[in-house]
């Protein structure tokens, strides 16, 4: 009540102040969305139109041709490519393996480090921690050597396994596990839950929102991998979509099938978007539930 009184005389000022952040946000969204819009439009025109350098700002009529060609055919007008169908599959398998693998390994190692007393526990913890300083890019040559010696070049295992080992997720899970009250662990012990039961019945359900968040982050991390897949795949059949796009562009301005590149790019964006949209439900649920 008293609030209303106070704000009454300043309403116009308020409005303006409210408007500013909105304008800033809208401008931001436009800047961010414009290239995506251009790509979308571009993917609906034929190569010649785009090639003239004046892309119309309205959709063209070639959408179906472009998308179906990019999806399944290995030839454009000017060059040959890996079909998007294959590349999406490769990227999907790699990103899923990385996300699932990382989560599985890190949640288990975090469980060990956070809940069990064993000899050299802190040594192991620090060893995991130190790997933070060694991302793939740093250890890429020795890793390549190992993967090559194991005969994993041009295989999904070679794509995913070296990227699975990482400490970030382990640390996040450990941090979360440390917030779980001792009494809850003890209550489970008294109820008769052994370590495995405790993990599956209690820890895993409690980690649901953390897992969902990490899954999104790691999926996109896996999806966007560039350097490692470039190194470890030789055959066109194993190309991931990120590599595919770069290769399409990399052949020199004139010979590019821009219409196909645009269509490919649009399709490359869809899986990460789908993952975010799908996983969002879990986040929101986690935020609203506010239980722990």
């Amino acid at each position: 009540m008293s609030n209303a009184h106070m704000t009454e005389p300043r309403t116009t000022g308020r409005r303006l102040i409210d408007l500013v952040p909105h304008i800033v946000l809208i401008v931001g969204v436009l800047i961010f969305a414009f290239p995506i819009y251009v790509t979308l439009i571009g993917s609906t025109w034929d190569a010649a139109t785009i090639g003239r350098g004046s892309l119309p700002m309205t959709p063209g009529a070639e959408a179906w041709t472009n998308y179906s060609q990019a999806w399944s055919e290995s030839h454009g007008e000017r060059a040959s490519y890996t079909p998007v169908r294959l590349m999406l599959m490769n990227s999907l398998i790699m990103a899923l393996s990385i996300a699932v693998g990382k989560i599985a390994i890190s949640i288990l190692s975090a469980y060990a480090v956070a809940f069990f007393r064993f000899p050299l526990r802190m040594v192991f913890f620090w060893m995991i921690f130190i790997t933070l300083m060694l991302p793939v890019e740093v250890r890429i040559i020795p890793t390549y050597k190992v993967v090559a010696d194991l005969g994993m070049i041009d295989s999904y295992a070679g794509l995913a396994i070296p990227l699975i080992a990482s400490a970030t997720a382990t640390l996040l899970f450990r941090q979360f596990f440390l917030t779980i009250p001792d009494e809850l662990v003890e209550a489970a012990k008294i109820d008769g839950a052994g370590p495995l039961r405790f993990f599956f019945d209690i820890l895993l359900p409690l980690s649901k929102t953390n897992i969902a968040a990490l899954f999104v982050i790691l999926f996109i991390y896996g999806w966007n991998q560039y350097l490692w897949p470039l190194l470890v795949t030789n055959s066109a059949d194993m190309e991931t979509i990120v590599i595919g796009i770069t290769k399409m562009i990399g052949t020199g301005e004139a010979a590019n099938d821009w219409n196909l590149i645009m269509a490919t790019t649009v399709m490359a964006m869809l899986p990460p978007v789908a993952v975010v949209v799908f996983m969002q439900r879990w986040f929101i649920k986690g935020l609203v539930d506010s239980e722990k």
């Binding site: 003890e186 839950a193 409690l206 239980e291």
Partner: protein, 358 residues
Amino acid sequence: MATVEIKNVRKSYGPVEAIKGIDIAIQDGEFLVLLGPSGCGKSTLLRMVAGLESITGGQVVIGGRVVNDLEPKDRDIAMVFQNYALYPHMSVFDNMAYGLKIRGVDKAEIESRVAKAAEILELGRFLTRRPSQLSGGQRQRVAMGRAIVREPAAFLFDEPLSNLDAKLRTQMRIEIKRLQDRLGITSLYVTHDQVEAMTLADRVLVMNHGVAEQIGTPLEVYQRPASLFVAGFIGSPPMNVLDAVIDPSGQGVMMPGGALLPLARPRPSDANRPVKLGIRPEHLAINEDGLDTSPVLVELVEALGADTVVYGRLPDGEPLLIRMSGLPSCKEGDRLAVAPQPGALHLFDTATGRRLED
């Protein structure tokens, strides 16, 4: 149901000895309260019985079985925690049923036991809710339900009510009492609240610094405190403790101001012995004829409605608390002639603090 015996149990954390040898046998169906100040080792003792803490020395025997080396789940006990420790992602029903499910109890049996516990605890309406959708008191009832459905040999409670507000605590205290009367399961109950101890306990174990100062019924502990510590810890406001001397004839105690208080039972062998004299505030009364008393200067009067607490000072400067029923009959600056009720004197050894038996 079973007996729980604690035989010379000790606990050390490195060089620090937290429990220094405690002995007690808890009868079948008995409600034992572990009472003591913060840090005295109550939780440690309880957790050793539960199996959550290793036992450094001595034995814990539940239902005739030495359980020292058994896992908590194999000790046939159920525990209620201060923070409820409910599984946040499970419904009330699942919280109560979880322990039974793990033990492989069949579904129909689980349902009937949970239904029964829910009825006793009036939780029937909440069975499908999550713990986050319950009030503190309801959560604590679920935690008790989880213990009840297990039908264990013993209940262990670690300050189950201290997260609740005062009113709810009183209500839950009564509920626990009711439950105990109804189920009659051997219980160990940790608290530092003496009202809980006095109202719930069949026997109280008063702990201090890892030793049992006294084990007895609530009334014994109140009427015949075994040490100065117990005397000061039980009763509110706390007992007055004065330096005094047994008079040369052994017939009475001499107060510092010179007044002589007669002893119920003379102790000629202790003639001229300095002692600590304990008198409960509620056992002091204004002495109408002014005999055998010390004049007390009234410094502060607290009128609590049903009671009045007077903060007074003896002639030699010793503070003295007096608790009278009803409304105040004196005011600050008054001098009162005060005398203890007959037989209400407690004598303690000056050096050891132990009670001098009468």
